[in-house]
Structures are given as structure tokens and as C-alpha cells.
Amino acid sequence: MPSRPISEGLFTWPVPAPPARPVLYGARCAPCGAVTFPPAPGCPRCGEDRMGPVELPARGTLYTWTTQEFLPKLPYLGPETPETFEPWAVGYVDLDGQLRVEGRLYDVDPEDLRFGMEFEVVVRPFRTTEDGIEVHTFGFAPSSPAGS
């Protein structure tokens, strides 16, 4: 099936074969060092507009989370219907103490979520467009043991 990322320049694409891992792409302000995700054209800290590309750390710890227990309205484009909708977890993952990035939390029962849990960036199929293209997006899943 043909596939594409939900947006260009957000994460490693195509998804690298293990043991390589996907990362998120941010921007770093040359004058002040502030990092943004997604890449921003101007710096939210100092207001300058000299931003350069940077790869964000692939792992981090869970800063906070909640559950999404109702089907979002548009602009959400997920594949569920009211009948098939299952609550999901969403959180902010603190990537190496640099930036906290929001994303869906995959492969984990919300009951098992704990502050400080280790997560890593993943890229997953999200929906299929009307013309049959599989759209992939980023999220986080509990970290696999180091070196695996």
C-alpha cells in the first residue's frame, strides 16, 4: 500500500529498519539555543528568525498524560466511528530534559501509565485516505530495553 507521513519534515521518513530508530525533527535557534517542535520559522523565546534543523532525542520520560474517552470532532481525521471508537492515551514526553512533546501513547494500557515512565518515539499507521494512501504519524511507546 502506498504510504506517506502525516506531514513532511516532522519525523524520520521512510521509517528506518531496526535497530535504527525514528526521531522527531525540530528547529534550534542559532542565537539563543531554544528548540522547537515542530520546526518553527521564528524563535518563541528570543524572537529572532535564524532557526536551523535539529534532531530531537529519541527517548524520554512521561511528564503527564490523560485519556481521550470521546471521539473528537473535525478537524480529527482518525478512522474510528462512534461504534468502533476506543479511548486512547495521550501525553507529553520529556525528551532528555530539553523539550516536552505531545503525542498519542501506544502499546500501553492507560491504567499502567506512571509519571516518569520511559517512552520512545514511534511512527505508526494512522488512517487510510480515500485514494488508498496509508498516512503514518508519530507517537510514543514504552521504551524497549536498551540494546534490544
Binding site: I6, R45, T67, Q68, R100, V101
Partner: protein, 381 residues
């Protein structure tokens, strides 16, 4: 600096009004405020109207009278009423106008607010992924806050139960049926740890205030209430705010804390002087967080304060005495002027069945909304 007095307040009941337009509600609230001030519409030389759903609140002159008045329309998200009030106060302080009407009105469809992420500086994929949702952010913010400061879900339930109880005493409230802590905590989970009955909902309504120069105040009201300060702030870099695909790990205080600090400084009032407060309770967790962010308690004190009913009408520091957003819903443009209406009645001893005993002398009103804006107003007798 010129003193600014509130000499009239009016409200159109919050709720659902099938056959009434937002402009009609706004005009009715304006007329109620004018009557309260003993004024007529031609006495007003400047008006400010705030709304989300109505592009041109000034169109209400069709109902109030075509006097040629200078009329400014504003929209600043959930802090719209604070921005509108700020403009009204500035118009008097600058000496440009003597008598000003500030009115807020809205009429929202049922269900959570939706919008285009692009209008909030967010990328399209953020909405496509299902992340452009305010209730989800509030769940995440209070989840972390409860973890950091030892607050339990019973306290969330107590906040909502208090606000429904207060709403049951308010004839203008949307939700007037008291609910128990158990009913609230046990209702359907929406965004952990927040349940269905812990959230406010968008609805309809209007509220208005009439302001005048301090030296004229007693010509219009036997008990004027003084606006000591109104401050509006947007988020700084590092604040943990709604609709943020990412936030820096070095967290700075929220715009609420910035607006409150500025408002206390401008008013020459300390947080300990506040006798009554109306805080943005978009959800029960928001009231808990905002208690500390505006400076009315330390982080974590809320657990003990709610258990001891300190923020109930008979308590040491009554909060959301008219039921807040939880019982009144949120017609965005009107919500903050409902707070000023309530503070005015309470400071004047006119709040009826929900009157705070030992009449309060200093009150605080607070708004907060997407994508990180807050206003804090301090009033006193």
C-alpha cells in the same frame, strides 16, 4: 489617576434560549445594567462589546437606540470580557469618556468548542491527529498538578459539588440541580482524571456593566464598586499551555499568575486582602490550579481548603459564589462580566440567597483561555 466605578450591572440568564438571538440577549443585559445605574442609553458615550459568535456586537444599537455612539468590538478567547472591561476602564481613565457600557454576549452550539488549528498558530496535523482539543489539555495539566501537590479526585468532586450547590441558589444559572461528590466523581470519564460533571459546557447568555468616573459614582449608585485594576496577559515562553505541540522543559508561571501579580500590584492590594473570588472553572481542576496561580493559596493547600469547605459561601474565602462556569456554562463573551456582576452584587450585599455573610469588601475575578491568555480584575467597596 481617575477612579473608575461600577454603578450598574445586568445579566440575561445563562442557559439555552431557542428563540432569542445573542444581540437581543446583549441588549437586554445592557438595559438591565442601565436601569441598575439609573441611566438611559443616550447617557452612555462609549461602549465595548465582546463576543465569539457575534462578529459585530455594535449591531445591538438597533435595539438600544441609534445614538451614534463610539462602540468597540473585542474578542480575546475566554478572556474576552477582561479585555472588554480593560478598554472600558482605560476610556474613562484617559479622560476620553465619562460613562461607559461594557457588554458581553454569546450563543454557542452544544458540545465542545471546535475551531481551525491554523487560527491558533497550530499545524494542521495537530488537529488531524486528534490533539487540538481543550478538555484533553486540562486533563493533562491537572493530572500532573495533582501528582506534584498531593491532591485527590475527591477534591475535584468537591469543587464541582460546591459550584452546583451555588448554582442552585442562582436564578440566572444554567445548571441549578445540586450534585453530590459521589455523583460527580462517578460520572462518565471524559479526560482522566476529569469526569463529565466536572466540566462546564458552552451555552448562551449576556452580561453588562455600566462604568463611570469616580466623582460621579454616587449620582448613579448608593453603593458603587470600585475597579482597582484590570490586567490581561498572554503566555510567556515556557508556560504549559493549551494547544501546544511541545513545551520547553523549563516551565515558567502561567499567564494567570502574570496577570494576577500585575493586577495586585496595580491595585495596591495583597492576595490576603481578597474576601471573595470568581475563578475560571472550565473544569474542576482548573479552579484548583487557578486558586494557587492567582496567589490565593499555596500549591497543595486546595486539598485541605476544599475538605474544610473554606471556599464555600459560608467559608473563609468563597469562590465562584454564583456557581462559576460549571453551573452557568460559558457564553464566552459574557462569562467574565457574569463574574463582575456577581462580585458587584456580593460587595453591595444584594446577592440574595447566596449572599456571603460578613459582607466582602475586596473581590477578584479571573479568566483563562486558549491559546494562553488570562485576565484578572480586582474590585473593592
Amino acid at each position: 489617576m481617575t477612579d473608575v466605578a461600577i454603578v450598574g450591572v445586568g445579566i440575561y440568564p445563562f442557559g439555552r434560549h431557542k428563540d432569542v438571538t445573542a444581540l437581543e440577549m446583549g441588549a437586554a443585559a445592557a438595559r438591565a445594567a442601565l436601569a441598575d445605574a439609573g441611566m438611559r442609553w443616550p447617557d452612555i458615550s462609549y461602549a465595548v462589546g465582546g463576543s465569539f459568535e457575534v462578529d459585530i456586537p455594535d449591531a445591538m444599537v438597533a435595539y438600544l437606540g441609534l445614538t451614534g455612539i463610539d462602540f468597540t468590538n473585542v474578542y480575546n478567547g475566554c478572556a474576552t470580557a477582561g479585555a472588554a472591561l480593560s478598554l472600558g476602564v482605560q476610556a474613562i481613565r484617559s479622560g476620553r469618556h465619562d460613562r461607559v457600557l461594557v457588554v458581553g454576549l454569546d450563543k454557542h452550539p452544544a458540545g465542545a468548542f471546535t475551531a481551525d488549528p491554523a487560527g491558533y498558530g497550530c499545524p494542521a496535523w495537530y488537529g488531524e491527529m486528534g490533539l487540538f482539543l481543550t478538555p484533553k489539555f486540562f486533563g493533562m495539566k491537572i493530572n500532573r498538578y495533582m501528582h506534584d501537590h498531593g491532591i485527590g479526585s475527591q477534591t475535584l468532586g468537591r469543587v464541582a459539588a460546591k459550584n452546583y450547590a451555588n448554582g442552585s441558589l442562582n436564578p440566572n444559572a444554567f445548571r441549578r440541580t445540586p450534585l453530590t461528590v459521589e455523583q460527580i466523581v462517578g460520572s462518565r470519564m471524559v479526560n482522566y482524571p476529569l469526569t463529565q460533571y466536572m466540566f462546564c459546557s458552552p451555552d448562551e447568555g449576556a452580561a453588562a456593566v455600566v462604568l463611570c468616573r469616580g466623582e460621579d459614582a454616587r449620582n448613579h449608585s448608593p453603593r458603587p464598586v470600585w475597579i482597582r485594576s484590570v490586567e490581561v496577559r498572554t503566555r510567556r515562553y515556557g508556560a504549559f499551555e493549551v494547544h501546544s505541540p511541545s513545551v520547553p522543559a523549563d516551565r515558567v508561571p502561567a499567564p494567570t499568575a502574570d496577570a494576577a501579580r500585575a493586577a495586585f500590584e496595580a491595585a495596591g492590594v495583597a492576595p490576603g486582602d481578597v474576601d471573595i473570588a470568581q475563578l475560571q472553572d472550565t473544569d474542576a481542576g482548573a479552579e484548583i490550579i487557578h486558586m494557587a496561580e492567582v496567589g490565593l493559596c499555596a500549591d497543595g493547600d486546595q486539598e485541605r481548603m476544599l475538605a474544610g469547605e473554606e471556599t464555600s459561601i459560608g467559608g473563609r474565602l468563597p469562590i465562584n459564589t454564583d456557581g462559576g462556569l460549571i453551573a452557568n456554562g460559558e457564553p464566552i463573551g459574557a462569562s467574565g462580566l457574569r463574574q463582575i456582576h456577581e462580585l458587584t452584587l456580593q460587595l453591595q450585599g444584594r446577592a440574595g440567597g447566596r449572599q456571603v455573610p460578613r459582607r466582602p469588601r475586596t473581590g477578584l475575578a479571573h479568566l483563562y483561555g486558549a491559546p494562553g491568555i488570562s485576565s484578572v480584575t480586582i474590585v473593592s467597596t
